[in-house]
């Protein structure tokens, strides 16, 4: 967002003695430097989450469920309460928390191996139950923490440590488009795919995360924001080249966009949307409810 010079002048004139704060650490981020690899987008996404927690004033009732993967250390960064979950089970853990604390804001932060490989059952079932929680899904098409192995979202022909000749889809099968798949489930209120390679995309990502949190707090249903991301270290590229590679290869396979938004579709929650979808199934029609 840009400001006209007049506006800037006016603001400066209003408080002549105090220096203008143009950038500060969100309260919901602990005062600790990120220890992720140089150029890793985790830092950007962490910050966006923290800014949303601040702006919605929900840090005090937020519980983060962190994964097994690079973000296993995210309790060093998130200032809200944090639960470290076992590999892939964050949606189940988050379900347990949310059922006990229905007024809290619960979000799971998961990578592609955690969410779409070992944790796929938990992912799908939390979504189809319409758990009032938010999943931030970092899809960088590779296992980062263990050193760059084939992930469920690794692209066809993409080279990884365990697909040294490129992902052979005749053997290793095809990548999973998580957002598209989850959007078919009646429990989902918001499914959006974003990325963080440019300021414009970063702002869009933040809007998506904030909307997801809002939907959760308003009890609309399950929300997931998929962040198409990079892994400069394991991809063996500079951060800039990584983003270029991502734009060239990943975005065509994983197009950005909103895959489900029940409010935008004209419903007030997942129950209404599901009812409309259930169509002519007599047993699915809730009379008097």
């Amino acid at each position: 967002m840009t400001m006209a010079p007049e506006t800037l002048k006016k603001k400066a004139a209003a408080k002549p003695s105090s220096p203008k704060v143009v950038f500060e650490r969100p309260h919901a981020l602990l005062p600790a430097p990120f220890t992720y690899c140089p150029g890793c987008p985790h830092g950007i996404v962490h910050r966006l989450i923290a800014e949303c927690l601040d702006e919605l004033d929900v840090e005090g009732k937020a519980v983060a469920v962190i994964p097994v993967g690079c973000a296993v250390i995210a309790d060093n960064f998130f200032a809200c309460d944090v639960i470290q979950a076992s590999h892939g089970r964050a949606p189940a853990v988050a379900t347990g928390v949310k059922r006990v604390l229905p007024d809290s804001l619960v979000f799971a932060y998961q990578g592609d191996g955690d969410l779409a490989s070992i944790g796929m059952a938990e992912t799908i079932h939390a979504a189809t139950r319409g758990e009032k929680l938010t999943v931030i899904f970092i899809n960088n098409a590779i296992y980062g923490m263990t050193g760059g192995q084939l992930a469920p979202t690794t692209l066809p022909n993409q080279v990884t440590q365990t697909s040294p000749y490129g992902r052979d889809v005749s053997e290793a099968g095809y990548p999973i488009r998580v957002s598209e798949m989850l959007a078919t489930l009646d429990g989902t209120a918001l499914i959006e795919r974003v990325t963080v390679d440019t300021p414009k995309h970063v702002r869009a990502a933040k809007r998506a995360i904030k909307k997801a949190f809002r939907y959760q707090m308003d009890g609309v249903g399950y929300s997931l924001v998929e962040v198409v991301s990079t892994c400069p270290t394991n991809w063996g590229m500079t951060p800039q080249d990584s983003f270029a590679w991502m734009r060239e290869n990943m975005l065509p396979y994983y197009p950005l966009g909103t895959y489900r938004d029940v409010l935008a579709e004209g419903f007030s929650n997942i129950a209404e949307a599901a009812q409309a979808r259930a169509g002519a199934c007599p047993i699915a029609i809730e009379e008097g409810k």
């Binding site: 005090g60 519980v63 639960i83 470290q84």
Partner: protein, 354 residues
């Protein structure tokens, strides 16, 4: 006092857990524990609680992990193959010092095994219910009344020591009905300042975590936990002694097989044999003190189990070579008869020249 009612063991476990303040249950169907989940699905909504049938045992135990993190009294139940699936989550609970109650209504194994009563998960429960240096407290009720009693106290023990607690039952105890007096509802859950309920800007953030990447830190955490384990071993051993005061043939049996052993011991006494029964109620901590008390008169020990003799080594460790320890049992869901056990007692009696 409540009225004496006729109840299935599985249902007594469930009702008693409710009366202990458990308001969250996460499970997955498996025989022979299904009545427990069905009972919870009926009662929980009426108590303002949550019953959730998870997508798997793995998801169920992780929901328990989440609910326990949020400070709730929470329970899951399963049977042997399902407990194997839960073992990862139980290890995480132990590693994160989370209280919770896990019910195992055992059936025959290994693998899919069978659905008839078994005690073949003794070693799993007492030695390695999940990876890493850890223990869980294990209760082995032997009547429907004890199913109710120990499900009731398990939550207090879990909260007191911040540990998972297992009720190790079996298909016989789960399926059978007996008269039971249910405990009065209570609300004894302590404050849990460590719980991740949102800090409300009133404290530093809480972290529920089993990950310690610095070896020294992890060692220190485990050593602290083992101080608690020592307290549990000192204060929480439970057992029942039956005709054991002057016993020469000391029978040890837990859970369902203890019922059978008790009948055999009574018959042996009628036949003039000084037999007695020590029935461990806690399997971990194992009641070694009870065995020590029998050493002066014991000529031989007999372990009666519905497995291939998994408790024998614990008895030998307590007896420390001061008397022979033998085994009689059936496995795979076959239930030993009192007559068979009596024959074994008589044979040992002859051998011991008692």
């Amino acid at each position: 006092m409540s009225e004496k009612v006729l109840m299935k063991g599985n249902e007594a476990l469930a009702e008693s857990a409710l009366r202990a303040g458990c308001r969250f249950f996460f499970g997955y169907p498996i025989t022979p524990q299904t009545e427990l989940a069905a009972y919870m699905s009926k009662r929980m909504p009426k108590e303002g609680g949550t019953f959730l049938q998870a997508e798997s045992e793995i998801a169920a135990i992780n929901m328990v992990y989440g609910a326990a993190s949020a400070g709730a009294r929470v329970m899951t139940s399963s049977s042997s193959p399902g407990i194997s699936l839960k073992s990862e989550g139980i290890s995480y609970m132990a590693g994160a010092d989370l209280p919770g109650v896990i019910i195992n209504v055992q059936r025959g194994g290994p693998g899919l095994g069978g659905i008839q009563p078994s005690q073949a998960d003794y070693l799993q429960a007492t030695r390695a219910l999940g990876h890493g240096d850890s223990h869980v407290v294990v209760y082995a009720p032997s009547t429907v009344q004890e199913m109710a009693d120990y499900a009731y106290s398990a939550f207090d023990v879990a909260d007191k020591y911040r540990t998972p607690v297992m009720i190790l039952a079996d298909g016989m105890l789960g399926q059978m009905m007996e008269p039971v007096v249910l405990p009065e509802p209570k609300d004894t859950a302590p404050e849990k300042p460590w719980a991740t309920v949102g800090h409300a800007h009133a404290r530093a953030h809480n972290v529920v975590n089993s990950l310690f990447l610095v070896a020294d830190k992890l060692e220190q955490k485990i050593q602290e936990r083992f101080v608690r384990y020592e307290a549990i071993q000192r204060d929480e051993q439970r057992f029942e002694a039956f005709m054991a005061d002057d016993a020469e043939i000391v029978v040890l049996a837990f859970g369902a097989s203890a019922r059978i052993a008790r009948s055999a011991v009574a018959s042996a006494r009628e036949a003039g044999i000084k037999a007695g029964l020590i029935r461990p109620i806690t399997l971990w901590p194992f009641p070694t003190s009870a065995i020590e008390g029998t050493i002066p008169t014991a000529k031989a020990y007999l372990s009666v189990e519905m497995n291939m003799g998994q408790m024998v080594n614990d008895i030998r460790l307590a007896v420390l070579g001061r008397a022979p320890v033998e085994f009689f049992g059936h496995t795979g869901g076959v239930i030993p008869t009192p007559q068979e056990v009596l024959v074994k007692i008589k044979e040992m009696h002859r051998k011991a020249g008692a």
